[in-house]
Amino acid sequence: MTPTSYPIQGGDYQRAGAASRALKEQLKRIGADPSAIRRAVIAAYEAEMNVVIHASGGCLKATLDERRLEVEVADEGPGIPDIDLAMKPGYSTAPAAARELGFGAGMGLPNIKKNSDFFAIESAVGRGTCVRFTIHLRPQEARAVGRHSLLLAAAACRQCLKCIHGCPTRALRVRPGGPAILEHLCIDCTACLAACPWGAIAVAGAEAAAEAASADVLVLPPAMPAQFGAGIAPGQVLAALAEMGWREVWVMDAWEAALRAAVLDFARTEAAVRPVISPACPAVVNLIEARFPSLIGSVAPFWSALEAVREELAGRRAAFVVSCPSQRTALESAGFETMLPAVVRAAVAPRVVGAGDRRAAGQVEDSPWRETRLAESGAILRVTGIRHVVNVLEAIENGLMNDAAVIELFVCDEGCLGSPLMNEDPFVARHRLGEAPAASSGPAKAIRRRAPFVGRAGLRLDADMARAIEKLGRIEALRRTLPATDCGLCGSPTCAALAEDIVMGRAAGAVCVRQAGGSR
């Protein structure tokens, strides 16, 4: 690929290291193995600091090719009169100011040589010095990609572009043919569902309600009983479902409480890190695996409430009402029927609407949920809404959240009550659930995961590193020709994303309207 150049300012200790840092990011994107990145960064940093210390300025040029990183650091400095002497460990001509900062140990050039596979230096007194080194790269092992349950209806799309700006992982594109999801980036959350006003993005699921005869248990998200308007108590909804033939209805609120209690207990007795992140929301777990892999060790090793119910019901006939795409994905291969809230709402509404203040008998029982919530709420920081979730994950990653023992994160506003698949506003739903008697729940408990959480190589450009390098070069070159406004009019969320899309062959029909000539 064509070389990428990073200017280096002589004497600027504040910005020193910036070129090496940029190079490190590039090597990560092509998926080079960590030991090669380490050697490259050490050599690049030493060469960069030599320019900062000795010269008025210079440039670091990095060229990635097949399986090699070639770096050339040239400066307009005083030059080196005796290169053999300069190469001797411990020999230095650095000024006192640099020595005070810990530089000038006379180890810079030997360090570059030691860490590179090829090293050369040329220098002319009064003109400058040029250091070149090469590092052989090996690819790091690739990891799994994600699954999702989002359905796209191209015919409904009006190209409004709200979804591409709403997606927290920049996984959406809008092309002339309609919206598209980049599967390797999608975390199966609800941001695009919430953003799309036209119904072009939906969740996969049955169009018709499951028959009560086809399953023994119906599993409902906590918000479901609150979706029928004012004056309809959750108990009435459960009674209507019983009338329809559902013998057992489990509402998951008690399972959520059981998970909360288990995670708190885990944080108190077992956790090696603080804060512990609750796996309550599967989309948040996906987000951590894709964008915050360093936090994987902070996630408590439990299934989410829905996954725990799934494990408990293994081998039985059950139907689930899912409140988001990630719940549907979690059930995908489990052999259960899944329904969307709207389908259940349509089936139940005629039986409860207009029923007045009739309270269902036999559904009134006290749940441990409310007590758990009251007793433990102080130890848990609950954060909802994707924007806030990303902020808080960044803060945890930077070690700024040590004052919380357990953090519960939900990508939807107000947690699962705020799923865009639900009818009622989450605050209204909370109000109605709070007033109503608790629902039946089945044997609520938290269940430990067997499978570990694993990171995803979402940023990798190609499984083959040589091809990744070649693509990175073309992406960088293209990106420089784009206006960097991130307007999204081309259908890609940012200019950098468009450059990547073009190179990755997924930009058919995308045009930058702001670029000279309007062509791509």
Partner: protein, 122 residues
């Protein structure tokens, strides 16, 4: 110093009587310590499991730490890290601690903590 079992930096700080200036990433661990005052040496010996012990208390060391994913830095002799160093440590999530005693004494206190952890490990 050879590799030992992993020890949490907050535990190490407590054991050697160091003051934690920036708590950094929660649960950050190291299995080795390197002490030195020359950037080249510190760079060469850095890793994502190394605690750097040094008399340097300036921002440039933090840039090296970020570059090499170093989880923690211990400044010796009770030196006060400058504002830039603290700010960079905070934004990178690096654990920054100040040992009240000199480098020799700091290392002497650190040694049994890591060697002891090795013996205790299964």
């Amino acid at each position: 110093m050879p590799s030992h079992a992993r020890v949490r930096l907050e535990d190490l700080a407590r054991q050697i009587g160091a003051t934690v200036t920036t708590p950094g990433r929660p649960g950050a661990e190291v299995d080795r310590v390197y002490a030195g005052d020359r950037i080249s040496d510190l760079l060469d010996q850095s890793s994502d499991r190394t605690l750097l012990v040094t008399n340097l208390a300036g921002g440039q060391l933090m840039r090296v730490a970020e570059l090499m994913d170093v989880p923690g830095i211990c400044v010796t002799g009770g030196r006060t890290p400058d504002g830039e160093m603290v700010a960079l440590a905070r934004s990178h999530g690096t654990v920054l601690m100040v040992s009240p005693v000199g480098m020799f004494e700091t290392c002497a206190r650190l040694y049994p903590c890591l060697a002891g952890a090795k013996q205790a490990a299964p």
